[in-house]
C-alpha cells in the first residue's frame, strides 16, 4: 500500500496538482507515527501506512493553505467530509488519497495486557486476526480484536467513500459494536448518583490542556467558548465542575460533527475516557436525527443547515 501511495502522492506533487501532501511518517519513538506535511517529492519515502497511524489529519486542512493532497482512512475521510459540509474547507482544494483500514492498535491496551510500557515492548506483528507481541524475550499471541481501539471496533467506514483516488489494500472485517460500547454500557448500569461520582472523579484529573479540543477536527471554532470572558461560560480555573462543563459543552458543540475517530480519548494525558461521552452523543445523533456524520458530502450539515419550513420558530 505504501509503495502505491508514494507513487500517487509523487505524481500529484510532480504535476503540480497539489502544493503539499499530508500523511504519516514514522515517529521518533517505538510504535509511534507522526503527521507529515511535505512539499518536496524527496521526502516521499517517509510516507508510511501501518497500524499506528492515529492522528486524524483532517485537522490540518483547517490550517494548511493551497491545494492539499491528504491521506485519509475512513474515519479521517468522514471528518474531511464533515468540514466540507460545514463549509470550513472547499472540496476543490483537496485531493483525497483514500486508504482502506483494518483497525489501529491501541498501545494502552497492549501495555495493560502485558503489564509493560510501550518502550519495553520489542515487537508487535499482526498476522491475520492475531497479533504476536514480543517483550522481555517472551512472545505472546493474542486476538487482534483485543488490542484494537474501541472506536476502531465501532468503525462504520473502513474504506473511504469520498475520495479522489483509492489505494487498494485489505480492509479486514473488524467491527464489534457491542465491544465498542462496552464502557458506555458499564456506565449506564450505574445509578445516576454513581455515574455522577464517576465523572466527578474523572474530571477531577483534567488538567485543561485542551488536547482533546486541539486534536478534534470538529472543534474548528476560531474562538472557543472556554476563552470567552464576556460573558464567561466556564471558569478558566481547573476545577472538576468547570472541567466537566467544558467537556459537556464541547460534546454538544461537536454533535453531528463527531465521527467517533477516538482521538480525544487517545491523546488525553490523564486517561479520561472521553470517548464514552462522544460516542454516546454520536449514537444519540443517529437515533434522534437518523444522521451519520461525514458520509455524504452533498448532505446538509446537521446543526447548521436550516430551511424556511423549520418547525423551530426561533430561527424562522
Amino acid at each position: 500500500m505504501e509503495k502505491e501511495l508514494r507513487q500517487e502522492a509523487g505524481k500529484l506533487l510532480d504535476d503540480g496538482t497539489v502544493d503539499c501532501i499530508i500523511g504519516f511518517a514514522p515517529g521518533s519513538l517505538k510504535f509511534t507515527t507522526t503527521p507529515l506535511i511535505i512539499e518536496d517529492v524527496g521526502e516521499l519515502n517517509n510516507l508510511i501506512v501501518n497500524r499506528f497511524i492515529n492522528n486524524n489529519l483532517a485537522k490540518y486542512l483547517l490550517e494548511v493553505t493551497g491545494r492539499v493532497g491528504i491521506i485519509a482512512k475512513g474515519c479521517d475521510s468522514r471528518s474531511i467530509v464533515s468540514l466540507i459540509q460545514d463549509k470550513q474547507i472547499t472540496r476543490q482544494d483537496i485531493v483525497i488519497l483514500g486508504i482502506p483500514c483494518s483497525g489501529l492498535i491501541d498501545l494502552k491496551k497492549v501495555e495493560k495486557l502485558l503489564a509493560k510500557e510501550r518502550d519495553e515492548i520489542n515487537d508487535i506483528v499482526v498476522v491475520a486476526d492475531k497479533v504476536s507481541i514480543t517483550a522481555a524475550g517472551e512472545k505472546r499471541e493474542v486476538a487482534l480484536s483485543s488490542v484494537l481501539f474501541e472506536h476502531c471496533l465501532g468503525c462504520e467506514l473502513q474504506i473511504p467513500k469520498e475520495y479522489d483516488l483509492l489505494i487498494q489494500g485489505p480492509a479486514a472485517e473488524i467491527c464489534n459494536y457491542e465491544v465498542s460500547r462496552k464502557h458506555i454500557k458499564e456506565l449506564k448500569k450505574m445509578s445516576p448518583d454513581q455515574r455522577w461520582a464517576y465523572w466527578r472523579e474523572q474530571f477531577g484529573h483534567c488538567i485543561r490542556c485542551y488536547a482533546c479540543r486541539q486534536v478534534c477536527p470538529a472543534c474548528f471554532c476560531e474562538r472557543c467558548f472556554v476563552e470567552e470572558s464576556q460573558p464567561r461560560w466556564v471558569s478558566p480555573v481547573s476545577q472538576w465542575q468547570d472541567n466537566l462543563i467544558f467537556q459537556a459543552i464541547r460534546n454538544i458543540h461537536v454533535a453531528g460533527r463527531c465521527t467517533d475517530c477516538g482521538e480525544c480519548e487517545r491523546v488525553c494525558p490523564v486517561n479520561i475516557p472521553l470517548r464514552s461521552l462522544s460516542k454516546e452523543m454520536y449514537d444519540l445523533v443517529e437515533e434522534m436525527f437518523n444522521y451519520k456524520t461525514g458520509m455524504d458530502v452533498n448532505a446538509p450539515s446537521l446543526m447548521t443547515a436550516y430551511e424556511l419550513e423549520e418547525v423551530e420558530g426561533l430561527i424562522r
Partner: protein
Amino acid sequence: MITKKINKKDIRKLLMTWNQEFSVIVPTRERGVAEMVRWDNNDISFLDWYRNTVIAPKACFLPQSEVMISFQKKETGYKIEVPRDEHKQIIFGIRPCDARAITIIDQVFADIYDDYYYASKRRNTLLLGLSCSNPYDSCFCTSSNVNPAESEDVDLMFTDIGDEYVIEELTSGGKALLNMSNMIKKVTKADVNRAKEMKAASVEKLKKRVDTKDIEGRLRSCFNDRDLWERVAAKCISCGICTFLCPTCFCFDINDEMIHKHGARYRGWDSCSFRSYTKMPMENPREEKWRRVRQRVCHKFEFYPINLGINACTGCGRCIRLCPVNWDITQVISSLPADISMHSS
C-alpha cells in the same frame, strides 16, 4: 560525601517514621496516571513499577490551581485571608531530571523573586532522589547535563543495589532525616562499588541524545527565519500537554471567582502554546503558531541560558512521550542550522 544504606524491606518503616513529622509524598498511579501525592502510610509498590510520573513534581510547589487569597464581601469592603501553607513535606523518589527542574524553577520563584506561595512550600520540603534504573526511550537527560543516577539537587540520593538502597547524604536536612531512624546502616566498600556499577548502567541505558552545543547561538541566528519555524511548527496542534507536563514550565494565569459574597483568587497553570495566552492583560504577541512554538524552544534553550546561565530542559522526555503528534524537541534542536555569526567572525 557520607554514604549509608538501608534494606529494601525497611523502606516502609522508614517512610512511616518520617510520615509522623512530615507529609511524605510518593509516586502513585491510584488515579490512573503516575503523579506525586501524599503517601497512604502503607503502599510501597511504586518501588516496583515507578519509572517516572506523568505529572511532574513541580505540581507539589506550583499546583495546577491554588488559592492565593480568599475574600468575603462585607458591608464596607472585603475581608481578605491569605492561606498559609507551612507544613513540612518530603518528596520521596524524585528523579534527577525532575530534581534539577526544581532547582531551575527555584531561580525564578525563590531566588530572583521570593514568591510567597512557591517559596513557603519549597522551604519546607526535602527532596529525596531515586536513581533511574529504567529510563524511557524518550529520556535524553544526559544531553542536558543531568545524570540519571546522580543528583546535587536533592537532600538524599537513593540508589538501588539489589536488596538494599545506598543513600548519599547531600545536605544537613537529609542527614537529620537519616538520624530519625535506626534502620540506616553503614555501607561496605562492596556496596559503594555496586552502587557505582548501577549508576554506570543507568547512564548506559540512555540512548537518546541531542547535541546542544552552541544552541543559544544557533537559535539566535535563526530567530527571524520564519520559513524554518513554520516548518518546525507545522504539525503542532497547540495543546498544553508539553508545557503543563514539563517539569520546568511555570507560566500561570490568575483568576478571581466569586459566588454570592464569597470568593477567591486562584493561580493556575497557563501555557504559551495557547492562542489565548496573555489575552487577559493585553494581547498575545504570538498570534501565529510558529511564534508560539519558537517561544517554547527559545525559552528553554536560548533565553534561559542567557538570563540564568542554565538551559531549562532537563531531558525528562515527557513532552515527546505524551505529545499527541510526536513533536520531538530533540529532532527540532538537531535540525537547526549552525550559528551563522560564528562562521562570519
